[in-house]
Symmetry: C2
Subunit: 330 residues, 2 copies
């Protein structure tokens, strides 16, 4: 900026005015400044600008996800980006891999860059470390799972209700032995979906058989083992509910390997690409992914804009998509 001022033979304050589009600059001076900017290829340093500005706004936000490559989260990312871009805000993204200490490290690294807001898909079980950042002005929203030991805006799907609805549907079709597979039991989403499963059994006056409930399936191999065990049972299930997209696809592989994919009913949580082209087409509880992302971003920007109302919890409805696999009779 100093060089531009020197070349245009004006003060740096005048260059600043031109760069910021202030109208109170003499046309001739403005022209000289623009020429100098063009000759030097000058571009304002936005971080230096933010440092000095009264509002200290960096026009950037941070995303701490489990994995930016997870298709569900990649869509959430995109939905957030759309809202941010409309406001001229740039987006940092990072993957915490379900590691609480990494989540914390990444979130605080973003804060050290003085982002305006942070959206977290929590891996950790204690988010009190963010309280000070929020007190310092950070806007904060949680998606997919709620925060722990911290009160903040949260956007969730109706996990329990949607699962109960899907499981009840299978029970009403006559299934009496319905298996339930989910990932790490300490995850909020796994707990809620398991609760929904139990609610449906109660509503249908069916007793829960612990042998049919398999949690902590953290990878495809453990899913495969669990499914094989279920179907080696004296009284094997006739239907399955899978609590997450990776578990659903792993289960589909095993059902195919066992040759029972056309006789066992299955509904999965999360929609996925090509579910409709499989044999049978796979019924799912579909989350409204873009709505989750859009809502989270809008809550965040409302806070950035100064909203100090009590924390909100927004529940985004899911949709049961019946494609065939969930409607197989016992």
């Amino acid at each position: 900026m100093r060089e531009v001022a020197a070349l245009a033979d004006v003060s740096i304050k005048t260059v600043s005015r031109v760069v910021n589009g202030e109208r109170t600059v003499d046309a001739d001076l403005a022209r000289r400044v623009h020429e100098a900017i063009g000759m030097l290829g000058y571009r304002r340093d936005d971080s230096a600008s933010a440092l000095r500005r009264a509002d200290r706004v960096s026009s950037s936000i941070g995303l701490v996800f489990e994995d930016v490559a997870n298709p569900f989260l990649a869509y959430v990312h995109r939905a957030i980006e759309n809202v941010a871009r409309a406001r001229g805000v740039l987006t940092f993204a990072a993957s915490a891999d379900e590691r609480p200490e990494l989540e914390r490290e990444l979130a605080l690294a973003f804060c050290a860059r003085r982002i305006d807001g942070l959206i977290v898909v929590p891996a950790g079980t204690d988010h009190s470390y963010l309280a000070r950042e929020r007190d310092a002005g950070l806007a904060l929203v949680f998606v997919d799972r709620p925060p722990a030991f911290l009160d903040a805006d949260t956007v969730l799907s109706d996990n329990a209700q949607a699962t109960a609805n899907a499981v009840r549907g299978m029970a009403e079709r006559g299934h009496r032995r319905i298996g339930f597979l989910c990932d790490r039991a300490e995850l909020y989403t796994a707990q809620e979906r398991l609760q929904g499963y139990r609610d449906a059994l109660s509503a249908c006056r069916m007793a829960e058989d612990p042998a049919l409930v398999r949690a902590n399936l953290a990878n495809p191999a453990s899913v495969d083992a669990a499914v094989r065990e279920l179907f080696a049972l004296p009284e094997a299930p006739t239907a399955l509910f899978t609590g997450q997209n990776l578990i659903t696809t792993a289960t589909l592989h095993t059902l195919r390997a066992l040759g029972i994919h056309n006789s066992i009913a299955i509904i999965g949580f999360d929609d996925f690409e090509l579910a409709d082209l499989l044999d049978p087409p796979v019924s799912v509880v579909a989350q409204n992914v873009s709505e989750l992302g859009r809502t989270a971003a809008e809550l965040l920007f409302a806070r950035i804009d100064g909203d100090t109302s009590p924390s909100k919890r927004v529940v985004v409805p899911t949709t049961l998509i019946e494609r065939g696999s969930g409607e197989i009779a016992p």
Copy 2:
């Protein structure tokens, strides 16, 4: 930092030393500083730090992709993030939606934040606008497609060769009419893959029938229309090569709708989830996605570290995965 210094009753320079982990601070002073930091919840402002540092390193990079939600790019993103995180570098990501002016706007917005490096999947056809940024010290790498009117490191798959290899395989199985479907003809990847298709035909002494080549398929509807036209031809193809993952899945839907999915051979460029569970399992040319991302990130950090050697062009090999659909006989 000033408040910390006041509370610890030291100079801000001493606080700076402690925060930066310099060992030349008296243990007692360091302890007082640490206490003050804890009491105030102080965290250094990394952007202010970068502004003043001699090297002006921001420890952040920018990614301008077509769409962060595209599964192929989401994996590239993750592979880059892994390399960046190992160096303590944070990652901005943005989607340019194949819009050249948006690509430019986003890239320059990142530059205005003084990122250390930029990785671009180009949408535009003129990247000379980045020359000045690079002269100003920006490290620059292109992935998936090369830059235009700018010389810079580039990481590509072996598009033409892989396509030629796959198409030649179908020809050797006896197919004489092989259709080719790809997206916008001005895209480098579409051109290269079409070239590979033509190379294979030449190598097999087959004449190209323009009626079998369908480009500019920008959405599923246009793919569906194109496939239906191909199979309404007096001499319909007996095999297809689809030039991109979204085109492959759209084509699979139409083949299924036409009831010919078990009689038409098909190989798609790009692997995708569940390809092995479809009927028939889908053969693909799989890009080495994590290698593309990792290589791009490593080239970028080499430049950030001061590598001034001539621009490199790295070609990452692909893999033909034969699952069944590509091996169907005419």
